[in-house]
C-alpha cells in the first residue's frame, strides 16, 4: 500500500498524465476503427515509447489498451461492426439503439460501463496479484514448466474453434521462439546465416504484421459496406435520446456490477479472453431479465453488460502475468516485451525486486481509468466522427504507421521484411482458423518454456518417474491431460451431414 501511495506521487505529474492522456486518446481512436484492437494499438505504439521514461512509457501503453477496449464500442454501436470481437455483444443492442436515433445514449452507457468494469477489475488486480505472487515464488523450474505447458494447452483449446489447430499454432509459436543463438551452448539455430536473426525474431514486427497489417487487408477489402453503414447514421431529436436517464442508471448498475465480476474472473483464467467475458455477461443479463425477448432490439442493459465485462478483462488478464509471469491474453503477451524493455520483468520476483515500479504501475492503471472517463466523455462526439472517416483514408495511414513502428525497433529494413512475412502468415492463419493468439503467446512463453524444460531434464536426471517428487508439477500435468480430454471431447469432430436424398 505504501508503494501504491508513493506510486501516485510519481505518476501524478503533468508529464506522466499527459502520456496517459495521449495513450487513452490514441487507444480510443484506434479502438473505434474496425479491426484495430487494443493488441494492435499497443504493438504499433511500443516503438514510440522507446525514448520515454519507464513509467510514462508503460502508463501510455496501458492507456492505449484501456482506451481501445472502450473505443471498440463506438464502431459496434454506430456501425454494427465491432472494433474487436469482444464488442460483438455490444452491437446486439447498441446498434438498434443507434438506428432509433439514440446513439449518444448508447455510447454514454458504453463508456460508463467500460470505466466501471475497468476500475473494479483494476482494484481486483491490485489486491490479488501480490498474494498470488508470494505463492508463485515457491514454484521451481519443473513446476513452472508444467504450468506453462498447461497454460498453452488451455489457451490453445479455448482461443479458437479447434484444440488441434490451437496446439499447432502454439507449438509453431514456441518453435519460432527457438530461432537465434541458444543461450546454453551458443549454437545459432535456424538463422540461415542472417546476423539479424542471432538475437531471435523480434515480437514487435511480428505482432504488427499479424495483428494490424493482416487485419487492415481484410478491412480494406470490405470497406465499401462499412463506409455505407457509416454514411447512414443520424441522431434523434429528443434530449432523453442523448443521455442516460436516472431510471436507466438504476436498471444498469447491477448489470454493470455483475459484468465487472464476470469479466474479472474470465480475465484471470488464461486464454478465455474478452470475447468470452462479454458474451457471458450479456447472456447472463438476458437470462436473468424478466423480458429476455426484448434484448437485441435496443436494450441499454445489453450495452452495459457487454461493455463492463469486456473492459474488466483487460486489467484482470494482467494477474497471471504479474503473479506467475504467464501472459493470459495477447495484450499481456505484447505488454511483456514493453515492460521488459522498460526495466520491469513480469513475474513473482518483480514484487520483491521492484516494488516501487509495481506501485507506480498500479497508480498509472488507476489514473488511466479516470482519464478514460474524462477523455471518453468529453471527446465522445468527436470519436463518433472517427467511424465516419472512410476506410480508404484510414488504411494508408495505419499501413504507414505499421511500417514506421516496425522500422523503429531496429532501424533496419529487416524488421519491415519480418513484418511483411508475418502479415502473410497472420492472414493465412486467420483464414485457416489457426489461432494467432495462441501462436503469439506460444512465441512469448517459448524461451521460458525451453529454459524450464532444460532445467527440468537436468533436475529429474532425465527420469519421468522422478516427477513424483514434484506434486505440483504432477497436478498441472494431469490438468493438461484433462484439458485435452475435456476440450477435445467438447470439440470432437462431427461428420458433415449427408445430403438428403432427393426424390425424382
Amino acid at each position: 500500500m505504501d508503494y501504491l501511495i508513493s506510486g501516485f506521487g510519481n505518476v501524478l505529474n503533468v508529464s506522466t498524465l499527459l502520456w496517459v492522456f495521449i495513450g487513452v486518446t490514441l487507444g480510443y481512436v484506434l479502438g473505434a476503427i474496425p479491426g484495430l484492437g487494443k493488441a494492435t494499438g499497443v504493438a504499433v505504439s511500443i516503438p514510440l515509447t522507446f525514448y520515454l521514461p519507464p513509467i510514462s512509457a508503460i502508463a501510455m501503453l496501458i492507456g492505449i489498451a484501456k482506451g481501445s477496449a472502450a473505443g471498440s464500442a463506438v464502431s459496434a454501436i454506430l456501425l454494427n461492426t465491432p472494433g474487436e470481437p469482444s464488442s460483438a455483444p455490444t452491437a446486439l443492442d447498441g446498434y438498434p439503439l443507434a438506428r432509433q436515433g439514440k446513439a449518444q445514449k448508447a455510447l454514454k452507457m458504453g463508456l460508463f460501463a467500460s470505466v466501471c468494469g475497468d476500475f473494479i477489475s483494476t482494484l481486483i488486480l491490485i489486491s490479488l496479484a501480490a498474494p498470488l505472487a508470494s505463492y508463485a515464488l515457491l514454484i521451481g523450474p519443473v513446476e513452472l514448466c508444467a504450468i506453462l505447458l498447461f497454460s498453452l494447452t488451455f489457451i490453445g483449446g479455448l482461443s479458437g474453434t479447434s484444440l488441434v489447430k490451437g496446439v499447432i499454432a502454439g507449438a509453431f509459436g514456441v518453435f519460432l521462439a527457438t530461432v537465434g543463438i541458444e543461450i546454453e551452448t551458443f549454437v545459432p539455430r535456424l538463422t540461415f546465416g542472417l546476423l539479424e536473426l542471432d538475437e531471435g525474431i523480434s515480437l514487435i514486427p511480428m505482432a504488427i504484421g499479424m495483428l494490424a497489417l493482416a487485419e487492415m487487408i481484410v478491412q480494406a477489402s470490405n470497406m465499401r459496406a462499412l463506409d455505407q453503414e457509416a454514411a447512414a447514421l443520424r441522431d434523434g431529436g429528443h434530449p432523453d435520446d442523448q443521455r442516460v436517464t436516472r431510471d436507466e442508471w438504476l436498471r444498469c448498475l447491477p448489470v454493470i456490477g455483475r459484468g465487472s465480476l464476470i469479466g474479472s474472473v474470465v480475465g484471470i483464467l488464461p486464454g478465455l479472453g474478452a470475447s468470452v467475458g462479454s458474451f457471458m455477461s450479456y447472456s447472463a443479463t438476458v437470462r436473468l431479465s424478466k423480458n429476455p425477448g426484448s434484448y437485441g432490439t435496443g436494450r441499454i442493459e445489453g450495452v452495459a453488460a457487454a461493455e463492463s465485462a469486456d473492459n474488466a478483462v483487460v486489467p484482470a488478464s494482467l494477474i497471471p502475468l504479474f503473479a506467475l509471469g504467464i501472459p493470459g491474453s495477447v495484450i499481456a503477451a505484447i505488454l511483456i516485451s514493453a515492460l521488459i524493455m522498460h526495466g520491469l520483468t513480469p513475474g513473482p520476483l518483480m514484487f520483491k525486486q521492484q516494488p516501487q515500479l509495481v506501485g507506480d504501475l498500479y497508480a498509472s492503471l488507476l489514473c488511466a481509468s479516470v482519464i478514460l472517463l474524462v477523455v471518453g466523455y468529453t471527446g465522445q462526439k468527436l470519436f463518433a466522427q472517427v467511424v465516419r472517416v472512410p476506410l480508404r483514408r484510414v488504411v494508408p495511414v495505419v499501413i504507414f504507421l505499421c511500417c514506421v513502428g516496425a522500422y523503429m525497433e531496429t532501424s533496419s529494413l529487416f524488421s519491415i521484411y519480418l513484418m511483411l512475412f508475418f502479415t502473410v502468415l497472420g492472414y493465412v492463419m486467420r483464414k485457416l482458423d489457426y489461432s494467432f493468439i495462441t501462436f503469439l503467446i506460444g512465441f512469448v512463453i517459448g524461451p521460458n518454456l525451453e529454459l524450464t524444460f532444460r532445467q527440468s531434464i537436468q533436475l529429474l536426471d532425465g527420469k519421468v518417474s522422478r516427477l513424483t517428487e514434484h506434486p505440483i508439477a504432477v497436478v498441472f500435468a494431469l490438468m493438461t491431460l484433462a484439458t485435452v480430454a475435456v476440450i477435445g471431447w467438447a470439440q470432437r469432430p462431427k461428420p458433415a451431414a449427408e445430403p438428403l436424398p432427393t426424390s425424382r
Binding site: Y51, V187, V218, P495
Partner: protein, 146 residues
C-alpha cells in the same frame, strides 16, 4: 472430403517433416555430451505439429472441418496484391532512391489503389504524416532514417 482441411493439414505436415529431417539438421549443430541438445525443443515442436496436422488432414478426408475456416474472397486477393505492389515499390524506392520517396509512394500509393481521388486529402495526409515522422526522427530523437 473437406479440401481446405485436408490440403492445409497435408501441406503443413509435409513442411514439418521437411523441417525435422532437413532444416533442423542443416541449421542447428549438434553439441557434445553433457548438454541438452539445442535441436531438442524445435524437434519436439515439429513432431507435434506434424502429428496434429496429419490428424487434421485425416479429419478433412472424413469430411470434418473446423467451424472457423473462412473462404478467401476475390476482393481480399485483389486488395492483397494492390497493397503488396505499393509496399514492394516503396521498399525498392527506400533501397535505391531515398526514404522520402518511399514514404510518399507508400502513403499516396495506398490512397490511390484504395480509391481515394481527392488531391487535397492525398497531398495533405501524405505531407502531414511525413512531416510528423521527420519531426519525430530528425528533430525529437535526432536519428536519421537511412
Amino acid at each position: 472430403m473437406k479440401q481446405t482441411e485436408f490440403y492445409s493439414g497435408a501441406v503443413i505436415c509435409g513442411l514439418a517433416l521437411g523441417t525435422i529431417f532437413w532444416v533442423i539438421p542443416w541449421q542447428i549443430e549438434e553439441v557434445g555430451e553433457g548438454y541438452v541438445s539445442p535441436r531438442l525443443l524445435p524437434q519436439i515442436c515439429m513432431w507435434l505439429i506434424a502429428g496434429l496436422c496429419a490428424l487434421q488432414a485425416v479429419n478433412g478426408l472424413r469430411g470434418i472441418q473446423s467451424s472457423g475456416v473462412t473462404p478467401i474472397r476475390r476482393a481480399e486477393i485483389f486488395t492483397f496484391l494492390k497493397l503488396g505492389a505499393v509496399l514492394a515499390l516503396s521498399l525498392a524506392l527506400f533501397v535505391w532512391v531515398a526514404p522520402l520517396a518511399a514514404g510518399i509512394s507508400l502513403i499516396a500509393g495506398a490512397f490511390l489503389v484504395l480509391g481515394e481521388r481527392n488531391p487535397l486529402v492525398i497531398l495533405g495526409v501524405t505531407g502531414g504524416l511525413l512531416l510528423l515522422i521527420w519531426g519525430v526522427f530528425y528533430r525529437l530523437l535526432g536519428t536519421a532514417i537511412v
